[in-house]
């Protein structure tokens, strides 16, 4: 590659990188400013640095409560969706029976049902089940809507495990359940990690469902909390941006840890699915 071409490619990358970074840095720095500073100097470094916005949020229980709620809901949702999907994917990958393709197609059709379509009837259904203002009112629908993509990815992974392994396990006296639990799942650890990461991100970012299900502020997750915080402090831009910045930290930290599973999962899930 010529030096000239290299320079151009770097220049493009740096410009695109700046488009990504500048809004985020604007938010981070705005949290260290007061609103006066933000009006006169929106882009530059804070001067002086104001720590009140971040300190107030971190010392009040609200942010921590929402962080806790988001974490618990993401964790339980992921646990349910991965276990149920692994069981179903095992059947779809390994057994021949009448109606298998119909059932599998039914699940894949679910890939096209976004929350937007189902949110209103789901709300009515959850209300009649008494699940409004219960964490399970968000966890169970999230798990249900997560099944299709998880089953599709796990099924294609389970298919790559040679049938001989299962046959010899059965001959050695292993039950179907024993094979699934003690041999298949441990072998599928990378695929399970991938689908778990996808489920965690989906749950973490969900807004529509907790917005309509949780009336009780003690149950709000971070996305709902951020939006309500914005409504509550509408004129206090610096404080809102401090809240936005703090709510980005866990997501970006998780991305730093699970980047490989996330990117690998999206690539296989959408292309090979």
């Amino acid at each position: 590659m010529s030096v000239m071409k290299k320079l151009v490619l770097h220049a493009i990358s740096i410009v695109v990188g700046a488009i990504i970074v500048v809004p985020i840095l604007y938010g981070v720095f705005a949290g260290f400013k007061d609103n006066g500073q933000l009006s006169t100097n929106p882009l530059g470094l804070p001067s002086p640095w104001v720590f009140d916005n971040y300190a107030d949020i971190l010392s009040s229980p609200i942010f921590w409560q929402q962080l806790f709620n988001s974490t618990v809901i993401a964790f339980v949702t992921t646990l349910i969706v991965v276990i149920l999907s692994a069981m179903a994917a095992y059947i779809f990958a390994r057994f021949a029976f009448r109606g298998r393709e119909v059932l599998f197609t039914l699940f894949t059709l679910g890939l096209m049902f976004p929350f937007a379509v189902a949110i209103l009837p789901l709300f009515i259904l959850l209300r009649s089940l008494g699940l409004l203002d219960s964490p399970f009112g968000v966890i169970l629908p999230q798990a249900a809507f997560g099944l299709p993509v998880t089953i599709v990815i796990l099924r294609s992974f389970f298919r790559t495990i040679p049938a001989e392994i299962e046959e010899s396990a059965i001959i050695d006296g292993c039950t179907r359940f024993g094979f699934f639990w003690r041999i298949l799942l441990p072998m599928a650890r990378p695929a399970l990690a991938t689908v778990a990461v996808l489920a965690i991100v989906a749950s973490w970012n969900n807004f529509f469902l907790p917005l309509v299900v949780f009336n009780n502020a003690d149950l709000w997750t971070l996305p709902v909390g951020v939006q309500q915080f914005k409504g509550q402090y509408s004129e206090d831009t610096a404080r809102i941006l401090a809240y936005v910045t703090l709510s980005m930290v866990p997501a970006l930290a998780f991305y730093a840890i699970a980047e490989r599973q996330l990117i690998g999962g999206l690539a296989t899930g959408t292309i090979k699915g």
Binding site: M1, H10, V16, G17, I19, I20, P23, Y26, G27, A30, N35, L38, S39, P42, S85, A88, I91, F95, A96, F97, T105, L106, F107, T108, L111, M112, F113, P114, F115, A116, V117, A118, I119, L120, P121, F123, L125, A144, L147, R176, F177, F207, F208, V212, P223, V224, Q227, K230, T237, I240, L241, V244, M248, A251, L252, I263, L266, T270, I271, K272
Partner: protein, 289 residues
């Protein structure tokens, strides 16, 4: 595959039942429920009693906001196809070059994807704030003529990294020999792109188009947080209209009809796309193999 004996049938039932029950109860039942309530005039309280047939759907076809939603959704899709996807493809090919720091660039470009639409939306309402934002003196969100383009910018900011990652994965699965052969045959950069890279990326491109369209059809969070659909419906999309009727005005029957319309639009699009566009691909997002 072997024939199933009795214990196998038991295993099939036990392993499949939990997922199937959850899926039927919370994904399929709501769709059926919406289809039912869309035939009623109903405020959402008590049981629906006032059966009005297809009146809600008739009203929908004459509803200027809903018709406008279709146009705005179409424009967002068009902008994605002509701007966002080609740009993502370009960046993917750029990051496929042996460039120092490309792993870092890739990590950076994809980062917005992990932020929620709400966080992104609130951040950008402030970035676009006329008094305290990055570009004062420009009415990004308050002007009905520009708001949809501002919305598109934010959507692209968040999602171009996803498409880029998919193109990059697709590009890296093309065997090296093909590009080497083209080079040996004296093909230039453009010819190689046009006749080798692009056709072989076809399946990936078709999937990303599918994801863009489905994403636009179901768009809600970002719009709700960024503009609420305003000013005067200028950035409203179908899901926002549905939310307004269903959760604000308590016209639940009518809102159910909008839900069903969104559902039918996604379903028809997905089936047609699968039949006419994805049929050439061995592996597609919604095909079973």
């Amino acid at each position: 595959m072997k024939q199933n004996s009795g214990p196998d049938r038991l295993a099939i039932g036990l392993f499949l039942a939990p997922a199937l029950i959850l899926f039927m109860a919370l994904v399929l039942t709501p769709i059926a429920l919406a289809a039912y309530t869309s035939l009623y005039k109903w405020n959402g309280f008590g049981l629906p009693t006032e059966f009005i047939g297809l009146d809600n759907f008739e009203r929908l076809l004459g509803d200027e906001t809903f018709i406008g939603d279709l146009g705005r959704g179409g424009l967002l899709i068009l902008l994605s196809l002509v701007l966002q996807l080609p740009m993502s493809l370009g960046l993917a090919l750029l990051l496929n070059q042996r460039l120092r720091g490309r792993a870092f660039y890739r990590l950076l470009f994809f980062a917005p994807y992990v932020l929620s639409e709400v966080t992104t939306g609130v951040l950008f309402t402030m970035v676009f704030s006329p008094s305290r934002g990055l570009f004062t003196d420009v009415l990004w969100l308050a002007d009905p003529d520009t708001v949809l383009y501002s919305l598109f910018l934010v959507i692209s900011w968040k999602y171009f990294g996803l498409h880029m990652i998919l193109y990059l994965a697709g590009r890296q699965s093309i065997p090296k020999e093909l590009h080497e052969a083209a080079e040996t045959d004296g093909a230039g950069t453009w010819e190689t792109f046009r006749h080798v890279t692009l056709p072989l990326l076809g399946p990936t491109i078709r999937i990303t188009i599918f994801l863009s369209v489905i994403g636009a059809i179901q768009l809600f969070d970002m719009v709700w947080v960024l503009t609420g659909g305003g000013p005067v419906h200028a950035s409203e999309v179908m899901a926002v209209t549905m939310f307004q009727y269903g959760f604000r005005r308590f016209e639940v029957g009518y809102a159910s009809a909008i839900s069903i319309a969104i559902f039918l639009i996604s379903l028809v699009f997905a089936l047609m796309y699968q039949r006419y566009v994805l049929k050439r691909d061995l592996e597609g997002a919604v095909t079973s193999r």
